[in-house]
Symmetry: C2
Subunit: 392 residues, 2 copies
Amino acid sequence: MDYYEESLKLHEQHHGKLEVTPKVPCENAQDLSIAYTPGVAQPCLEIQKNPEDSYRYTDRGNTVAVVTDGTAVLGLGDIGPAAALPVMEGKALLMKRFAGLDAWPICLDTKDPEEIIRICKAIAPGIGAINLEDISAPRCVTIERRLIEECPIPVFHDDQHGTAIVVLAGLINAMKLRHADPADMKVVVSGCGAAGSSIIRMIYQYGFHRIYAFDLEGCVDADRKEHYNPLKQELLQYVNKDHQHYASLADGLKGADIFIGVSAPRLVSKEMVRSMNPQSVVFPMANPESEISYEDARDAGAWIVGTGRSDHPNQINNLLAFPGLFRGALDCWATRISESMKIAASRAIASLVSDEELSTDYIVPSPFDKRVVPAVSAAVQKACRESGYYRK
Amino acid sequence: MDYYEESLKLHEQHHGKLEVTPKVPCENAQDLSIAYTPGVAQPCLEIQKNPEDSYRYTDRGNTVAVVTDGTAVLGLGDIGPAAALPVMEGKALLMKRFAGLDAWPICLDTKDPEEIIRICKAIAPGIGAINLEDISAPRCVTIERRLIEECPIPVFHDDQHGTAIVVLAGLINAMKLRHADPADMKVVVSGCGAAGSSIIRMIYQYGFHRIYAFDLEGCVDADRKEHYNPLKQELLQYVNKDHQHYASLADGLKGADIFIGVSAPRLVSKEMVRSMNPQSVVFPMANPESEISYEDARDAGAWIVGTGRSDHPNQINNLLAFPGLFRGALDCWATRISESMKIAASRAIASLVSDEELSTDYIVPSPFDKRVVPAVSAAVQKACRESGYYRK
């Protein structure tokens, strides 16, 4: 099937993918007097007295704004806010389908980080959470961090952390299968953008401390610190702690246990996979074409292979993370999404694969597994309560 | 029935009044490949090539953002953006119920007109139109006018023009019933805020040229021009052309043919109505209590009485105007809502009362009359095409 052609047909036929529908009756003058004037004054006054009552008397506690500036859409790049809308509608569709959330796209005609921050803060009183989407790096990191500090509702940039949460879930189960200690693993990450940086931070926090990061400039290394942007400088806290001077990604992969790719097509050869340690874990996830194909990685002896694709085993899909994460955060009227909430999500995803089921071809559940969202949501809520970032 | 108590119960039970629902299947990996990645890249690329395709491939052409800063909500005043949300959800509910539109509230945590203007312009790429709601005067006028000039999509402030459109519809039919020429009518308007100013401009454009406007400072009069804010100064183009110096509203109403009240409770006595000309038309519409009660106005001999209430004849309800207006504008991918589109809406509303039905107790149709939205929408579309503000 030609997904591109089918997609165009679907979008044209339905004029997009979302609609807004009433949850209450609105058929006659009496319905209106209750749902609208004069009765509606009462919930308004209650919220004026106690602003948190907006979670009680409106849809606020079930809503997510999907905010983009259209600068880094899918693999398409900076296509602008109007052209990003089909993706944002898609994201909102998934929020509803998988977690019952009411998400709505907001496509911004500005690339100024300060302006984007101001707008997100300004719209906060009417929504429960903000999902930043497809905003280019490193701006996306600045925008998200500022908003986490300054915005009274949870702000989460899925492109940074969605994949990271699922990568960690996969690694948790790979370690279990291999009976290995994360601290012993040599991990090579290709790509230091939004997703790569978040993956590095998350897996480090979990216990992977032998991490080496590569990008177009080579191996990230404290000696070259002055040439790095602030985001990359920050990575030096987590990577290359023993000051290796790998000449290339190929050099770094020798004797590695884990490869994580969020970079570009065809950077990893079969030769390079063969140079890794036995029982190697290889997650080539570049989009739309990965660092090495699933088939080539298996041919070259990779023990566990995880990709972004649904037609291979072990799909590392952010869909496993964000619906349950937002569901859990909103269910306790969260004020932010903390690091511990993200790691709780990873653990919850990993835990759904039982010891009996766990195999090199099954380290993470399917996004269509109905247990995923409730498990992630419950774990995230628990972590949120423990970290104190909740209102209910 | 206690509408306030019932309303609070309804809002708590349903957690607000809106939800977002999918229009397309999303049940399995294949559905996702069409509605989301990789297929969704195709509509994105089409829109990138031709931005107007966003109306074709997304819900944009059916969406209205209901934007407020919560400064002038119902009769409650400046209750803030969070407390305004139940009203905005209500407005969105009416948009769907009456015109099939997908409207979504945006409650802004800023009162700065420049910031509100910037935000509305920034969100424009993803929506079809903006309904400004419950923003205090005179800021609302500045904000709307700037956006009409600077924003590429229609922007309409319902509090200004919604009531005005229906008032004009009522007057059109009152004139028909009275066989009178608008130019001969002495019209007294009480209230020069957002609604009053718009009513004065609209009925003047239609042909009512003997208008006198009153507010707390008395009769609007060119001699006092230097004391007026710019909005009120502008009204001098339309009112008091023969330089009357009425001492009071009571003085002005002597010999008047039409009274329109958008001001405050109990400003008009039975005595004052008695001093009007025979076949007087009295629209006391202040909220929640009007300038004179329906009963008192009738007792005092008013010939036609129109109010904001559904429990009396001739309800002057903006619900007759805005759903069809936005429907019509979006159906031709309008770039703005022009003066002629608003007057077309008034004429369409008036035209739904047939000569046989027309009576002093029936000058405007019911908002639940199913002919209203199609008639208004068709008339608005026609006027939009004639004025050139359309894309389709």
